[in-house]
């Protein structure tokens, strides 16, 4: 062997191989632990429900069928819940991106005397909250109960996002903005025409967090919305779970009426609905993962 090659191989001692083997094995175990639960849910949703109840489903579908998906997509209210969730995700994300970025921009401008106060007071809301009942009572007084605006307005300023964007803007070179100001552009014009386009990477990261947050949002629906017309998929799934629990509780007491009228494939209904709820995130996720990793890098965690 040449001298260089033997030197290179000398780096890979036996202990190195052992470490790498252990490392990869451990990582694979973590991978399986993260994947299998979700994979199993998919299996349950596409397998024959009798087989599921008998416990035959482990690694592959048993009696593969898409019938249950067809069933729940025609289930009462499912399509509408999906529409509501999609609508709030799109609109809510747009509103949040618009206002949070605008706020972050204004906070970086020394000309705004109150910027320190604005910033500190906004960041403070990340650490303290008014509490559940005050939140419910005040929001009801504001007229947000049973209103679609509840889903998209309160999140308009996203403090964590504001911190990210602010840090990013501060790292932009001054020259571009100076040029715009010299040309006579006002602050708002500078924001919309120059700064905003430059912020696209961090905005993309923010869009990921915000849309996922909107899609997974549950408590606003749970506490403040009773109308079925404004039900999100999360709440829909919760209602299915509650109905199943109530049916089981009644059956234990000897009352079989709910069990007889409820769908017989209890697991499958839950699993399928859950899959439909996760599906959008699942579908879009690998592509979005790039953005939020970048966003974290750009926003730079303190320290």
């Amino acid at each position: 062997m040449s001298i260089e090659k033997s030197r290179a191989w000398r780096r890979y001692r036996a202990s190195d191989w052992v470490f790498q083997a252990l490392n990869y094995t451990f990582a694979a175990a973590v991978l399986i632990a993260c994947l299998y639960p979700l994979y199993y849910l998919i299996l349950v949703a596409v397998s024959d429900s009798a087989a599921v109840n008998r416990g035959e489903v482990r690694l592959i579908p048993v009696g593969f069928t898409l019938q249950y998906f067809r069933d729940i997509l025609t289930m009462d209210g499912m399509g509408h819940a999906f529409f509501i969730s999609a609508a709030r995700t799109v609109l809510g994300t747009l509103i949040t991106l618009a206002f949070t970025s605008m706020f972050a921009y204004t906070v970086t401008k020394p000309a705004l005397r109150l910027r320190k106060a604005f910033y500190r007071l906004t960041v403070f809301t990340m650490y303290a909250s008014a509490g559940l009942i005050p939140w419910v009572v005040v929001y009801t007084r504001l007229g947000l109960k049973n209103s679609f605006l509840l889903y998209i307005l309160p999140g308009a300023i996203y403090p964590f996002g504001m911190v990210l964007i602010k840090t990013y803007i501060e790292q932009l070179p001054d020259a571009v903005e100076e040029a715009a100001r010299v040309d006579g552009a006002g602050y708002f014009a500078t924001y919309t025409r120059i700064v905003l386009p430059l912020c696209l990477p961090v905005l993309a990261a923010l869009a990921v967090f915000t849309s996922v947050g909107q899609w997974n949002s549950f408590q606003d629906n749970f506490f403040l919305v009773q109308s079925e017309k404004l039900r999100t998929v999360q709440m829909y799934l919760y209602d299915i779970l509650k109905r199943a629990e109530a049916a089981a509780a009644n059956a234990r007491r000897g009352d079989m009426t709910m069990v007889l009228t409820a769908p017989p494939n209890a697991f499958t209904v839950k699993a399928t609905t859950a899959i439909v709820t996760i599906l959008p995130i699942l579908a879009v996720y690998p592509f979005l993962q790039r953005f939020f990793v970048k966003g974290i890098l750009l926003g730079a965690v303190k320290g």
């Binding site: 849910l41 705004l112 650490y127 303290a128 005040v138 006002g186 602050y187 697991f267 699993a271 965690v301």
Partner: protein, 312 residues
């Protein structure tokens, strides 16, 4: 031509200055945005007034009696409180204990040579972070079902006894902590990995020259490199000692584990929504918020003493 908007006359102050140098648009933008924060985050604080009255929904303010600190006295003397506090602190404590786990995982990942596999692991382990708790519940409820779930089927085929972690009151705290780890470890690890990638590569070369092996590099370069980020997150977790979150405990709550899973956030919900005791719930919530802020300040002070810099 001189931009008229920019010319500042000597002696102009405040409003006049603002109108002439164009910064008024900045103030408009700022106030509009801050209005959201005021209305949606600070206005609810007005609800704290409920804890000083015998609040009943629908009654006008004159008919409700001002009762001073009655509800607070009741709050601290609730028989359920010690148990709830115990649950809350146990969960938070265990959460604090597992804070180093993502750090270790990130370091192990960084030692991987195969970039492709590394990226796959990153992508897959981060995904649970984006699943809402209700879906986490359905996933694990199905997986661990005593009769038909895969886990118990496999255990049975190995002649081992079946498990039911969701209905097991002895392992509630560990199981919920593990669930939190399942959900959050990948994501935290990515943050740490990002920090690791920012370490000057020359440090590693210098360590090579000094004859440092893999573990020496870990101890002397990687861990010190991650420590600032870890410390910040740890301090923030201490500040959040009383805030365990709500959804996780709402979905995993059942009669068997009730005694151990009821945390402060769930208790506030129980009082306020389930039993409709608005005033008592508000009082408990207020105490929780105030103590939380004190905890955060204390943790911040700790940080200043230990590392000389503030976390906030």
């Amino acid at each position: 031509m001189i931009d008229k908007k920019r010319r500042l006359h000597a002696g102009q102050r405040g409003l006049a200055r603002m109108l002439t140098d164009g910064s008024y648009s900045l103030y408009i933008m700022g106030f509009v945005c801050f209005a959201f924060v005021l209305v949606f985050s600070y206005l609810p604080l007005a609800g704290w007034i409920l804890s000083f009255f015998d609040y009943m929904p629908g009654y006008s303010w004159e008919n409700m009696g001002f009762v001073g600190l009655k509800w607070f006295r009741l709050a601290v003397s609730q028989p359920a409180l010690p148990r709830v506090l115990r649950n809350t602190l146990m969960m938070s404590g265990m959460g604090l204990l597992v804070t180093p786990v993502p750090v270790a995982f990130a370091i192990l990942l960084s030692e991987m040579r195969n970039e492709g596999f590394k990226r796959i692991v990153q992508t897959v382990t981060t995904f649970p972070n984006f699943i809402g708790w209700i879906m986490v519940y359905v996933i694990f409820f199905t997986l661990f079902s005593p009769t038909s779930g895969a886990i118990n089927q496999i255990l049975r085929s190995l002649c081992l006894s079946t498990v039911d972690p969701i209905g097991n009151e002895r392992i509630v705290w560990s199981f919920q902590t593990l669930l939190g780890l399942w959900k959050g470890m990948g994501y935290s690890a990515v943050v740490y990995l990002a920090t690791l990638s920012g370490i000057d590569p020359e440090l590693y070369d210098a360590a090579d020259v000094d004859g440092a092996g893999r573990f020496a590099k870990m101890i002397h370069i990687k861990i010190p490199g991650l420590y600032p980020t870890f410390f910040v997150l740890f301090i923030l977790n201490i500040g959040n000692l009383l805030n365990n979150g709500f959804e996780q405990y709402l979905f995993f709550y059942n009669g068997i584990v009730a005694q151990k899973i009821e945390v402060l956030d769930y208790y506030v919900y129980q009082l306020g929504i389930v039993t409709a005791n608005y005033s008592l719930s508000t009082a408990v919530g207020m105490l929780k918020s105030v103590i939380g802020i004190l905890l955060l300040s204390a943790a911040n002070l700790l940080s200043k003493k230990a590392r000389g810099e503030s976390v906030l």
